[in-house]
């Protein structure tokens, strides 16, 4: 259990992307990065339908540039590259709509002029994606006792009390607490593994290195 899946590393995905016929690599890459980009773009105050479009375009654009050899991993992190593409897309869309600022009021939290804010927003989305994947992994791939997982879900997701969970699953409350701590440990383990697969340890975004040089439009 828990070993790194070499086919799932970002390196493996990227090399697969060189081949236009490798649909699996494309799909895996898309599955991993599209939700992150979607979340990021949403947080830039973009409406849902447009956000989906921008996320899609960003992926496509990245793969094109990658195949053209514009993206060199040694020169910067993948995330920084992706987010830069997405950022230009959002700014471009705003220009076309004639609004420099966003009106979505409540959560236009990402300041696109501020690298730090952009980096933090991407990092937050990436972390959430990682946790989602970890949870999915816990349910489908890990060999964790289903009852343990169920106890955790009832406790954390359904807000049931340990007593009720214990009653319904025929275990003691002590076991329920143990299930919770076991799941936490397992999830942490999965997260560490996924981090290594992503090969993008969270770090200082500022030090991420160079970005795409051109404006990337059209």
């Amino acid at each position: 259990m828990g070993g790194m899946d070499l086919d799932r590393t970002t390196t493996a995905l990227l090399s697969g992307l060189f081949d236009p016929r490798n649909a699996a690599a494309w799909e895996a890459f898309d599955r991993r990065y599209r939700p992150i980009l979607l979340g990021f773009v949403r947080n830039c105050g973009v409406r849902e339908s447009e956000a989906a479009e921008i996320a899609q375009e960003t992926i496509v654009r990245f793969v094109e540039e990658y195949r053209e050899g514009k993206y060199d991993r040694t020169r910067g992190r993948l995330g920084a590259w992706l987010v830069t593409i997405a950022r230009y897309r959002v700014l471009d869309m705003r220009r076309r709509a004639g609004t420099a600022k966003v009106e979505r009021g409540e959560s236009a939290i990402v300041d696109l002029d501020d690298d730090r804010s952009v980096g933090a927003a991407y990092e937050a989305e990436r972390r959430q994606a990682l946790l989602r994947e970890a949870l999915e992994d816990l349910r489908t791939r890990s060999r964790t006792d289903p009852k343990t997982v169920q106890a955790f879900e009832m406790l954390v997701y359904h807000g049931l009390t340990p007593q009720v969970v214990a009653d319904q699953l025929g275990m003691s409350t002590h076991d329920v607490y143990l299930a919770k701590s076991r799941v936490a440990a397992k999830l942490r383990e999965i997260v560490i593994r996924l981090e290594s697969e992503y090969e993008e340890a969270p770090g200082d975004w500022e030090a991420a290195g160079s970005r795409p040089s051109d404006g990337l439009r059209g």
Binding site: L131, R132, L135, H158, L160, T161, P162, H174, K180, V183
Partner: protein, 697 residues
């Protein structure tokens, strides 16, 4: 110490002193100061790496899992259920709808049991933290099991984001309806109240305060058992305890009903002042309402007026509205309604016990207070023994004395009698001032003065009775720390008794009582050598009149030994305490509190002499003696723990001392507030211990 079985009685975890439940709650409390934490646990954690490790891990697990849950909000349902607003339940007919929300009959699908589901109308938990705190509290409440508490099964958030609770389905009538429709007698009402007080005591012992007791929250079921609903759920109303907000004039009418049950300190809006005694106040209003058929402060037209009324004068006695109500119940109800929480019953247990005593036909009771003991005894002896004197006083003081006398009568067979002084004060304070001629307000001092004056005028022909009254009055003054007045009364009483004794008109025991009381006064004035002389005389008189084994004789003896100790004649004092202790141990019926007092005094001498190991043994023994007869959070238990911790500090047993001082602090702080000098003593000790621990590491 406090911990072989944890407070929830669940199996222990960590080092074994606390349960996993308690440790989990402690983890929550790290980020949520309002989460309930077991007594002494915070202090324990700072000294126990095992438990601290668990709490650290749980804290980090919870934070991590909350992050996971937030990142991945949608999961497949854990329990299969039919589509409905609440996972795991099928909702049936609506039973009740109020301002807060609606109550439905429901079926819990997993267990197929019928229950009631209460849904609150608005989504009130904006913050996760708030929701979690609420859920944890519900969890604690859900573990309460008592015939008079409606069991809460669980709570959750509906698909529409509204909080809900599932609870036992109870069918019956609201308490006030029940009482009204049946025309229940005061005695029947007292019986219902006793059961309610029992249930509330059970919750209080587990740290759960109801906060919103009212007739609508008490249902009498088909078997006639009163059941308290919605325990701990007042918080579901968010951060607004009754009375803290909603001052807007338009809401006044709407809220006045609820305010009627709120204690004055709740209305004042100081959340720090709210503790379990708010429930006792609310219960007092409910009790009053059932007895009198109306609320105690009915005339209020505004909240401000209500607050004024509540914090000012006491309401009329319930018996003024319902002549079937007897004096004992008047006293109990009015005591619950004291504006000062310190003057209410100390605990719901004490209330339940008093109601039980009333129902059994025994005199109602509070707990030991030796001043009060004397008051009550003397009142009985001298006010009632001479019916002529009683009649005289009655004509003078009219109704104000009536309650006090009722009280005195109630004390007749009393053995343990603490807090009587407070009760006495309440009895005085609950008198309608209008009925006392020429006085709009009557303080205890004025009341006593009135007694003194009238006694002197009317009882000049009966000096024996007068001396007794004066002695009593003196002791009451002493209780209020009015040393000057006390001295005047006590010395007059003593002189009169000496004169009477010389003529053979006063028994040696009576004279001894006056002499002993003078000793107490002198001791308080730190005239220790004079006090010693008085106690020696009292001891001699009592030994002769009552025998060496009489409790009163032994009391004079102990006080004498304390005088000797204070004058640093330690060997002599130790010899006396050893003798007293031996005699006390030989008696099977020796009162535990008095026994503990002797043991503590004896141990203090060991401490004076630097023999801290023996002192520790003595303090421990003293604690053991009182543990069975006092609630575990009684102030005196706290004091005992402090004594133990002090001795352990001297012995260098820093960790033990730290644990005991921590327990002492939590008890004493709760009972006396943080400002009390004794509490600060404990804090100083804890500070020293913390430094010592730091130096050790």
């Amino acid at each position: 110490m406090a911990g072989e079985t944890s407070q929830f009685g669940a199996s222990a975890a960590g080092c074994g002193r606390y349960s996993r439940d308690e440790l989990e709650l402690a983890a929550i409390a790290r980020t949520d100061p309002d989460a309930p934490v077991a007594d002494g646990l915070v202090e324990h954690l700072s000294g126990c790496p095992v438990c601290r490790g668990i709490v650290d891990r749980v804290t980090s697990d919870n934070a991590f899992l909350a992050e996971v849950a937030k990142a991945a909000p949608v999961v497949r349902p854990a329990v299969r259920e039919e589509a409905g607003p609440i996972a795991g339940y099928r909702l049936g007919e609506e039973i009740h709808r109020g301002a807060q929300g609606a109550v439905y009959r429901a079926e819990q699908l997993a267990t197929r049991r019928t229950c009631a589901v209460k849904m609150l109308l608005r989504g009130r938990f904006a913050a996760d933290r708030e929701r979690m705190r609420f859920e944890r509290e519900v969890e604690v409440v859900a573990r309460l099991r008592h015939p008079s508490i409606v069991t809460l099964y669980e709570s959750g958030i509906s698909r529409d984001g509204e909080p809900w609770f599932a609870m036992e389905l109870v069918e019956g009538d609201r308490l006030d309806e029940f009482v009204r429709v049946r025309g229940s007698s005061p005695r029947e009402i007292a019986a219902l109240m006793r059961q309610i007080a029992d249930g509330i005591a059970c919750a209080h012992r587990r740290g759960v305060i109801h906060r919103d007791l009212k007739p609508g929250n008490i249902v009498v079921d088909r078997e006639g058992v009163p059941r308290v609903l919605d325990f701990g759920l007042a918080r579901a109303d968010g951060d607004a305890p009754p009375g803290s907000v909603a001052g807007g004039t338009t809401l006044v009418g709407e809220f006045l009903g609820t305010f009627a049950y709120a204690a004055p300190e709740q209305l004042a809006g100081d959340p720090g002042a709210i503790d379990s005694r708010c429930d006792l106040y609310a219960l007092g209003v409910v009790f009053y309402e059932c007895l009198a058929g109306r609320r105690p402060f009915e005339g209020a037209r505004s909240i401000a007026e209500l607050v004024m009324q509540k914090s000012g004068t006491a309401p009329e006695r319930p018996s003024a509205s319902n002549r079937a109500v007897d004096r004992d119940l008047d006293v109990i109800a009015l005591r619950l309604l004291s504006a000062d929480p310190a003057r209410r019953y100390d605990t719901a247990d004490a209330l339940a016990e008093d109601l039980a005593r009333y129902l059994d036909g025994r005199p109602i009771l509070a707990r030991e207070d030796s001043v009060a003991y004397v008051v009550s005894k003397t009142l009985r002896r001298h006010w009632l023994a001479s019916s002529a004197a009683a009649a005289l006083l009655l004509t003078v003081l009219a109704s104000s004395v009536a309650l006090a006398i009722a009280y005195a009568r109630a004390e007749r067979e009393r053995i343990r009698s603490d807090r009587t002084l407070a009760s006495f004060r309440d009895a005085v304070g609950s008198v309608n001032p209008e009925s006392v001629a020429g006085s709009a307000e009557l303080t205890v001092e004025q009341f006593l003065e009135l007694i003194e004056q009238n006694a002197a005028n009317e009882l000049s022909a009966e000096p024996g009775v007068l001396a007794g009254v004066l002695d009593t009055v003196g002791i009451v003054h002493l209780g209020f720390e009015d040393v000057e007045r006390a001295e005047k009364s006590l010395r007059t009483a003593l002189e009169m008794r000496r004169a009477l004794a010389a003529r053979g008109e006063c028994t040696p025991a009576e004279l001894a009582e006056s002499v002993h009381n003078l000793g107490r006064l002198l001791f308080l004035q730190r005239k220790t050598a004079e006090a010693e002389i008085a106690y020696r005389e009292a001891l001699a008189l009592r030994t002769e009149a009552l025998g060496a084994d009489d409790l009163r004789t032994m009391l004079s003896w102990r006080h004498l030994a304390a005088c000797v100790r204070r004058q640093k004649r330690l060997d002599e004092a130790r010899g006396m305490f050893d003798e007293i202790l031996a005699k006390a141990r030989a008696r099977r019926d020796f009162p535990a509190l008095e026994m503990a007092a002797i043991m503590n005094s004896r141990a203090f001498i060991d401490a004076d002499e630097g023999r801290h190991d023996r002192a520790l043994e003595g303090f421990r023994e003293a604690l053991g003696a009182i543990r069975g007869s006092l609630p575990s959070d009684d102030y005196r238990i706290g004091r005992s723990l402090y004594n133990i911790a002090s001795a352990e500090e001297k012995l260098g047993r820093i960790d033990d001392a730290f644990a005991h001082a921590g327990d002492a602090l939590s008890i004493m702080r709760r009972r006396k507030g943080s400002d009390a000098a004794t509490v600060q003593q404990v804090e100083d000790l804890l500070r020293r211990l913390t430094e010592a621990r730091g130096a050790q590491r």
